[in-house]
Amino acid sequence: MKSRWRVLENKIFVKWLSIIAIVTMILLLIFFITLLVSSWPAIKANGFGILWRKTWDPVHNNYGMLPFLVGTLITSFLALLISAPFSIAAALFLGEYYPKGAIPNIFRNVIELLAAIPSVVYGFWGLYTLAPLVSKLELKMNLPAPGVGIFTASIVLSIMLIPYSVSLIRQVISMTPVSLKEAAYALGSTRAEVITKVIIPSNISGISAGFLLSLGRALGETMAITILIGNSPEMPHNIFSPSYTMASVIANEFTEAVGDVYLSTLIEVGLLLFVVTTIINLIGRIIIKKVSY
């Protein structure tokens, strides 16, 4: 009797493991179907025009998400641009200059502290410290000076991306074959030359994948940006303008959305965000995997 139960429990366990694995695998597909079904009324009502219409007017059921698309892309790319030199430098410092030892270990832990700070705290901090500074800068440039806007959001976002891209790029850089570097040194190259002519070119696909994954994270970042971007559903005039991102429009309007089409349209925005980040992550992960072997 007991042994029969043991055989049974074993069978159940093996089945359970496979079921969990399969559910985990198709979870993304289930997400996609859920979002697609719920946003179907909006997709039918709005058509493809939603991608290039410029007015967002829920009161008259007139939806265009071009301002959010532009706001999201500008903010994310600007943040990536600002953080790139810092990320590469810190990754080189930790992966190439001092890969081992006590002090670099402390450095690594300090940079990882940036990942310990929640998004909403970044937003709050930016609102208190950075927004007044940006506001002063805007006054000097004779621009309207709300302090919040694409520029402020991008700076804070770039800080948030640093721990993420540093750890990805460091991983890639530390896998450069030693023989390659030694060959370059033996030919009389300086360290700067080894970095710019050997390490970075030979790892270019891995480094790009690191930035691609960071971009994916930037596109979906919500809370800090919702606090700092100014939440204005209009086309931005310059990088200081208040704007809106796809994630922050969902965060702000989802619970207040009255009417099926409005809610469904916000889910459509979420669907687009999901599809874009999934594709970016798929490509990034596949490249990183190829580079690692």
Binding site: R6, V7, E9, N10, V14, W16, L17, I20, A21, I22, T24, L27, L28, F31, T34, L35, S38, P85, F86, A89, A90, F93, V110, I111, E112, L113, A116, I117, P118, S119, V120, V121, G123, F124, W125, Y128, I162, V166, I195, L219, G220, E221, T222, M223, T226, I227, A247, I250, A251, F254, T255, I267, G270, F274, T277, I280, L282, G284, R285, I286
Partner: protein, 264 residues
């Protein structure tokens, strides 16, 4: 050049933490931990309701995520090289990159809409999904380090696969698995986006996971965007508590990784 840029990264960390401590330490007092929010206009009050709410949501999420995450991790470690495992591993990696707000929207459609009300447990489910990737990966990476001879010895003694996993594999890898779970908790402790339309928020002190609850990060978000100085003060206190909690978790992870590493 590399030095300058690296040091400016470190400087940014210190600037943020310094500011956080400067603003946060001043607002830490007993009322913050022992009282709920006061009505608009009155000063004082605290975030007791949010602390309790955060605990409920995070503990529930952990309870949901741990068995599922560890099971998937075991599957990946035991079935390496199979096509299906590769796909599962890729899906886990991609899941890690899905914006948290999208997960919130999905859970809203799954649970909040059919039940017709916001609830703490719906927030927990959203957070549990976010916890899965670190738990799965840590379990997998720990279990593949355990020598096969250990497993074979157990199987040779007639123990079933289930018993071997429960009594040999998991205890041997408990350090790594546990640190994966803590990484998961650290990842979700500061999240607001998936809770905005699931756990929603609630100024009352609630112990019932079927009701909407406030969480510390949600309170920070609400108070940060308010015009009241006293609310900002409370938000700084909440931010400091939250960041210290996450740093504590990270320290525990570091200790676990150095002391309890699987070594044979």
């Amino acid at each position: 050049m590399v030095w300058v840029l690296t040091f400016s990264c470190l400087a940014v960390v210190f600037i943020i933490l310094f500011y956080l401590f400067k603003m946060g330490l001043g607002s830490l007092n007993w009322a913050l931990f022992s009282q709920g929010p006061k009505p608009v206009g009155e000063t004082g009050g605290g975030i007791l309701n949010a602390i309790v709410g955060s605990l409920i949501v995070v503990v529930l999420a952990t309870i949901i995520a741990i068995p599922i995450g560890i099971s998937a991790g075991i599957y990946l470690a035991e079935n390496r090289g199979r096509k299906l495992s590769d796909w599962v591993a890729l899906a886990v990696d991609v899941l890690q990159g899905i914006p948290s707000i999208v997960i919130g929207v999905v859970i809203y459609i799954w649970i909040v809409k059919p039940t017709g009300k916001f609830s703490a447990y719906s927030g927990s489910i959203a957070l549990a999904i976010m916890m899965l990737p670190p738990i799965i990966k840590n379990t997998e990476e720990t279990l593949i380090l355990i020598p096969t001879t250990l497993k074979e010895a157990s199987l040779a003694l007639g123990a079933s696969y289930f018993r071997t996993t429960m009594k040999i594999l998991l205890p041997a890898g408990i350090g790594g698995i546990f640190s994966g779970c803590i990484i998961g908790v650290a990842r979700i402790a500061g999240e607001v986006a998936p809770l905005l339309f699931t756990a929603f928020g609630n100024p009352e002190l609630i112990f019932d996971p079927r009701k909407p609850v406030d969480t510390i990060p949600k309170v920070i978000f609400t108070y940060a965007s308010s015009p009241y100085d006293d609310w900002h003060r409370i938000a700084w206190g909440g931010s400091l508590i939250l960041v210290l909690f996450i740093i504590l978790l990270n320290t525990i992870i570091k200790i676990f990784e150095s002391r309890w590493k699987v070594q044979f």
